[in-house]
């Protein structure tokens, strides 16, 4: 599904001024709060009327202003799911799911049954919406949106009102929706891990402007936008292939460099698939020789590529095979180890300091 948009919209002192095109299928919109993410979704959905805009979804022109075209929200076919589930309180779960025109029939069809099974909401059908848990409510909200048979699902931080465990669950469900139902999405988030797990293409918003666009990993690895850097907050982001699981040792081995592996906390991705991991530059110890009797699971031979003195710190860029790592040391340590470009060093990283950020 091709989305192309050029939007200029003012809300009070805030202005949204963006131009982008993406073929998704899941376009992530990433940015800090007040960067314009939600406003962008509202303009796409037709709930806010921009002064100037040209919006196309697929072949269809949804908005052309000035120019007199503005398809009302109910005829755009873009269902919105926000961070609050916003279920209709006077309707049962079944009546919420069957709310959209044609949704009640779709609910009884094979496709409807698939939506219910992917979201695991079949057991909730006859319940009232009042006594559902937060995660259940959000699942019903997703089901209600999918049963409107949308051309595009607009997701506005759908996990941010949930606790960490439920957020992971809903994210996994969204992954299933993407894989099994193949519904294109525009997915707004401020969490890097969610972006990596779900999005194929990524738009970074900063103060209502597009600060970057590209594959999620590359956008996050080289955060040109300062807000992204602070949101990511992780200096090392890697996408590595799963080599093997060592359940007894409690680690998963990921391929890094030639015949080298990185031991990370046990993952459930099958060998051969991809895993995103992240860790801070402070978590890397640099040694000149392979240390003995080490509790840390990773001691990777590396080569220093660059040293940057920033304030009272030295940022060292390392090459481990094809991968680039960033380590942070004190100026004293850099002096004592006589670090300069092209040194052979050993990078020591504790397994427990490496965060898994999701597969794909």
């Amino acid at each position: 599904m091709q989305i192309a948009a050029r939007i200029q919209h003012r809300v009070g002192a805030f202005s949204l001024d963006v131009e982008f095109a993406s073929s998704g299928p899941v376009l992530g919109v990433f940015g800090a709060s007040a960067s314009g993410k939600t406003t962008l979704l509202h303009v796409l959905a037709g709930l806010a009327q921009p002064a100037k805009a040209e919006i196309r979804v697929g072949e269809r022109l949804l908005c052309h202003r000035p120019g007199g075209v503005s398809v009302p929200p109910e005829r755009r076919g873009l269902a919105l799911v926000s961070q609050d589930p916003l279920l209709f309180p006077h309707r049962s779960v079944r009546d919420n799911l069957g709310y959209a025109p044609g949704a009640a029939q779709l609910l009884e069809s094979e496709h409807g049954a698939r939506i219910l099974s992917v979201l695991r909401i079949a057991p909730l059908l006859e319940r009232g919406v009042r006594n559902l848990s937060g995660g259940e409510k959000q699942r019903v909200a997703l089901g209600r949106a999918l049963l409107s048979d949308p051309k595009l699902l607009l997701l506005d931080e759908p996990t941010s009102s949930l606790d960490a465990e439920l957020a992971r669950e809903v994210l996994a469900l969204l992954g299933d929706v993407k894989r099994e139902l193949r519904t294109p999405m525009v997915f707004v988030t401020h969490k890097a891990a969610e972006l990596l797990a779900l999005a194929d293409d990524c738009l970074v918003l900063e103060n209502g402007r597009v600060a970057a666009q590209g594959a999620p990993l590359s956008v996050l690895q080289r955060p040109r936008a300062t807000s992204v850097a602070s949101l990511v907050g992780v200096d090392n982001l890697l996408r590595l292939r799963v080599h093997a699981h060592d359940v007894a040792a409690g680690v998963t081995l990921l391929e890094i460099g030639d015949a080298q592996t990185l031991a990370v906390p046990l993952s459930d991705e099958p060998p051969g698939s991809w895993e995103h991991v992240g860790f801070y530059a402070d978590e890397i110890l640099l040694c000149l020789e392979l240390p003995k009797g080490l509790s840390a699971r990773n001691a990777l031979p590396a080569r220093t590529l660059r040293l940057d003195a920033i304030g009272h710190e030295v940022l060292v860029e390392l090459a481990v095979g094809e991968q680039r790592l960033r380590a942070r040391v004190t100026p004293a340590a850099a002096r004592e180890l006589a670090l300069r470009e092209g040194c052979e060093v050993v990078a020591v990283i504790k397994t427990s300091s490496i965060h898994r950020l999701g597969g794909a």
Binding site: G46, P72, P73, E74, R75, F88, H90, Y99, A100, S148
Partner: protein, 229 residues
């Protein structure tokens, strides 16, 4: 306690007037409540004030206002007579109008507050799910307003049962036509030996008013339960 035929006629008239008053004012009440909650315009405050005026002005003044507006020799009253062949003032219709005007603020305020309490994002969601403005109003806004609207209707019903000041001025005291419970009580108080009848009517009107209040509280609690979700 048993009521005489005349007293039964009085109670029956009162209930009929109150029911007609609610039937007459419920749609305008919904429209006004919605408008006062949603219409963002400087004139809104003025409109709100006009609607609420009968709540604070003496009912006798309201009755006089109605008489000036719709009296038998006034232009609007005459126009009505020419169109329909019946008068407005000093008829049962006048009782209904007087009660409706005096009870209107209660109906509107209850509706307005429940419209204000609706999370408008629910309406947005409804639009993106493919329901237009009218359909969204009927499927989301109206059902969520309903308990508040009904609570207001019950209050306005109870107020209509108790309406005296505007009624006596605009509708008078015509037996069988405009003599509602309060008017009958007033009449009996001025007559000799009416005291036992007064007691019966007073007891009945207190019971009706209390029942209406309880019903309105129950509906308001329903409204709050809807909002708590």
């Amino acid at each position: 306690m048993s009521l005489s035929d005349a007293e039964i006629a009085v109670v029956w008239l009162s209930l009929r007037v109150a029911a007609l008053c609610v039937a007459l004012s419920i749609l305008p009440g919904l429209a006004a409540g919605w408008l006062l909650a949603r219409w963002n315009h400087p004139l809104r405050t003025l409109l709100h004030g006009l609607v609420m005026l009968p709540l604070v002005s003496p009912p006798v003044v309201t009755g006089y206002g109605l008489l000036v507006l719709l009296g038998r020799s006034r232009p609007l009253g005459r126009l009505w007579f020419e169109l329909t062949g019946v008068h407005l003032a000093y008829t049962t219709t006048a009782c209904v109008i007087a009660a409706a005007v005096v009870g209107f603020p209660l109906l509107v305020e209850s509706t307005r507050i429940s419209v204000l309490a609706i999370d408008r994002r629910l309406e947005d969601v409804s639009r993106t799910l493919g329901r237009g403005r009218v359909s969204t109003f009927l499927r989301v806004t109206l059902p969520l307003t309903l308990p508040g609207l009904l609570a207001g209707a019950v209050l306005s019903f109870a107020r209509a049962l108790g309406e005296f000041g505007a009624t006596i001025v605009f509708a008078g005291n015509v037996e069988g036509e405009t003599r509602t419970i309060p008017v009958a009580v007033y009449t009996l108080l001025n007559a000799r030996g009416g005291e036992s009848a007064v007691l019966r009517l007073v007891a009945l009107s207190i019971a009706l008013a209390l029942a209406a209040l309880l019903a309105s509280f129950w509906l308001s609690a329903r409204q709050r339960r809807l909002e708590a979700t």
